[in-house]
Symmetry: C2
Subunit: 187 residues, 2 copies
DNA sequence: GTCTATACCCAGATAGAC
DNA sequence: GTCTATCTGGGTATAGAC
């Protein structure tokens, strides 16, 4: 991993742990083992570096989700795989947590990848649910868009509850409830 | 409203808008129209003031929720009132957002009110759902604890989605999905 | 590409006058 | 109770040497 890459990876970790406002160039340099000079040679400043880090985290989330969505099994099984995938619930979502970060939301360049990620996720799930409904796997009365939003919300809210309680169990409980929701719509 | 109160209210607003790390004593003083001297006379420092502000926000959330839970109507109606209550979705939850704030979670004094609020909320909802199940209003197969976690998660996740999209509609969609979930369990 | 020196401003707090 | 002065440290960035 070259210097530029180490800077991005360290920034990703720090953004995940402490958010944008709470992450200083100095901390990034220390974690990545690089000096001021290197950082300002490869990036114009903190926002520029954060932009690269956020884009990478967003891409990763998308790829991992797509792995589950495009995998084998029925629509409900694939969504179940996505929801149940082991997650580091106590650390929060590396992308979702940025929506609660003032510094990120105030900068359009930083905000856009976050916005696009959730738009894609909900859209992808909506399509999957519509597909399941069309094939007869799911109840015709199900509203794909509402259900997709609710499912993504349960995941994001599950992180919040787990962080609040200091226990990953809450995440599992919330997802368990959501799976019950979906199961109720299987024909 | 006296000086002490203005300081607490200004801090509440700033914590809501910018989080703990992003809120400086200077900003608090400016918003409340008080000087350094006053702030450090009434409070020992930023953490002390934040503690008072967070406790007040937590109490308010609890009181507003209890209004809905203790109101008239069936269990499902009361929960629907709680979920559907107009919320400032784009500003996020004044308590929930603190779970994603490193500065808050790292300080036990600041963290405790947040933790207690969600524990109370889930517990209260679990009790309500159990009551509905016992009275025959809800399906005997419903798991009150899981469902309570899922409902609170949808609310918290709804805030995340709304912030990400810059549109309160997403919050409404997620809640719509959650209400569908509950409706499916009415006998 | 990376290093060190330097600069400026703000965060957070203390001290003592009024 | 409130004001102003003052202090230390860190955030963020630039300049120029190597």
């Amino acid at each position: 991993m070259d210097t530029r890459d180490r800077l991005i990876e360290s920034t990703r970790e720090l953004l995940w742990e402490r958010g944008y406002v709470g992450t200083s160039p100095k901390a990034i340099q220390e974690r990545s083992g690089t000096g001021q000079g290197s950082m300002y040679h490869h990036f114009r400043g903190k926002p520029d570096l954060a932009r690269a880090a956020i884009r990478r985290s967003a891409d990763e989330l998308r790829d991992r989700a797509e792995d589950a969505f495009a995998g084998p099994g029925t629509v409900v099984e694939r969504i179940g795989t996505y929801l149940g995938r082991e997650r580091d619930a106590l650390k929060g979502c590396p992308v979702g947590r940025l929506t609660q970060d003032f510094g990120v939301m105030a900068d359009p360049e930083l905000r856009r990848p976050v916005e696009e990620t959730f738009a894609w996720l909900i859209d992808r799930l909506t399509g999957l649910l519509a597909e399941g409904r069309a094939s007869g796997e799911l109840d015709p009365g199900l509203d794909p868009a509402n259900m997709a939003s609710a499912l993504v919300a349960v995941v994001q809210g599950g992180y919040v509850l787990a962080c609040a309680a200091g226990s990953a169990t809450l995440y599992a409980q919330a997802v368990g409830g959501a799976l019950g929701l979906l199961a109720g719509h299987v024909r």
